[in-house]
């Protein structure tokens, strides 16, 4: 299981939001390239980059900055935020992005994945599943944040997973958005939903990347102890930026699984 530092970009700067709210924005660095290189020096084996402005507006906004990051580092990177068209996806892939994360375009219309042009690049895609657990309507229907989490849509989990399986999209970025950027730590309720998702994934060729609310090494340890091979990695933002622990400490604990 990889520990994946998050780099959220808004206005060309590295920021963290609290529970997705653009009103609760905190700037960590004005130089995303420096930050990316820093995580690489700390031993990162994967990075998670989000174009927050892109997500809110619906098209890539910080694409040039992300391109510069890719030039500066030599580890795989996943990118999300405002990627709504095939041509957006291809621009990122051509730049050398390892995996493109689709959110709004897919959860609002699952048939987006049926497009002919998706087939050859399906294994380079992930769907972001930004769930508000407290809004959960049933085991199957999840309340998903769209458009930079400014809006919501209720979607059937099974419908999404079936669709992903049929078109061979193999990654799901599950973000626990009530917790994202809060440093609140993970509760039993969080683990209940995570376990439910993992259960649904058990017989599907889909891996999960978890994000949201990790505040201490004990959260990582609890996830690692699930010993679930379906978990590709944990995305961590604020806890790393606020020095709650170091990346190498976190990775050591994650490696137990």
């Amino acid at each position: 299981m990889l520990v994946i530092p998050a780099i959220d970009i808004s206005g060309g700067k590295v920021v963290r939001l609290t529970a997705g709210s653009f009103r609760k924005i905190k700037e960590y660095s004005s130089n995303p390239i420096y930050v990316a290189k820093f995580w690489c020096q700390q031993g990162a084996k994967y990075l998670h980059i989000v174009d927050l402005d892109g997500a809110a507006i619906g098209k890539p906004i910080n694409l040039e900055v992300i391109k510069e990051i890719l030039k500066a580092i030599s580890i795989p990177v996943e990118v999300g935020g405002g990627i709504r068209t095939i041509s957006d996806i291809n621009s990122y892939l051509e730049m050398g992005v390892d995996r493109v994360i689709l959110g709004t375009s897919v959860v609002k219309d699952l048939s987006f994945l049926d497009k002919e042009q998706i087939k050859p690049i399906a294994d380079k895609l992930s769907v972001s599943w930004d769930v508000r657990i407290d809004g959960k309507k049933s085991e199957d229907i999840a309340v998903i944040g769209t458009e930079g989490w400014l809006k919501e849509v209720s979607v059937s989990t099974l419908a999404l997973l079936e669709k992903m399986t049929s078109v061979r999209v193999g990654y799901l970025n599950y973000t626990n958005r009530s917790k994202d950027g809060t440093l609140l730590g993970l509760t039993d309720e969080d683990f209940n939903y995570l376990n439910l998702l993992l259960d649904l994934l058990r017989d599907k060729p889909i891996h999960l990347i978890y994000g949201g609310g990790v505040s201490g090494l004990e959260d990582i340890s609890k996830i690692a102890k699930l010993k679930n091979k379906k978990i590709f990695g944990i995305v961590i933002g604020k806890a790393l930026y606020e020095n709650k622990f170091s990346l190498s400490e976190a990775q050591k604990i994650a490696d137990v699984s």
Binding site: L70, K71, S74
Partner: protein, 199 residues
Amino acid sequence: MIGIVDYGMGNLYSVKNAFLSLGFKVRIVESPNQLLKMSKLVLPGVGAFGQAMEILDRRQLSQAIKEFIKSQRPFLGICLGLQLLFEKSSESVGRNGLKVLKGSVKKFKGKIKIPHIGWNRIILKKENKLLRSIPKDSFFYFCHSYYVEPEDDDIICCLTDYGVNFASVVASKNIFGIQFHPEKSQSVGLKILENFAKL
């Protein structure tokens, strides 16, 4: 000058950036003439074997690559670029590879996730200039559904375990091939590209 073959099959820019970050000059080559002027050549690529060979054949790059290799200049195939060196692939029955190395390309089978995506270890079988200063058991980043099965075991430098022990690095005279992505494998990956550039 190191040439990187552009035939529209991806990871070109990551490879180019990696060499640039190491301070080496590279040129993206698209035509047989440009290609044959290079002192070293890199064939990158991700995706389908059949489609890649079709493009290489159509643009007359297949012949040029073979000619380049025959001239004893250092050649590096990465990922799909490694697989294309072999005779054929189970992915595209009927379309031959470059046939520079003997053997074939097979798909992973069994209860494992395909494609093989993620960090995995190399098991050193045979020392090689490309692997100079690379610690034993280093981890590299992989992303592929097919692997090469060389006829001649002697060309296998490293194996990697993913359900089967497959060849992750091969070398034969001036020809080098690696299944993982050195351009995405932290400093050990860059070291391999540096070793190649300094051959």
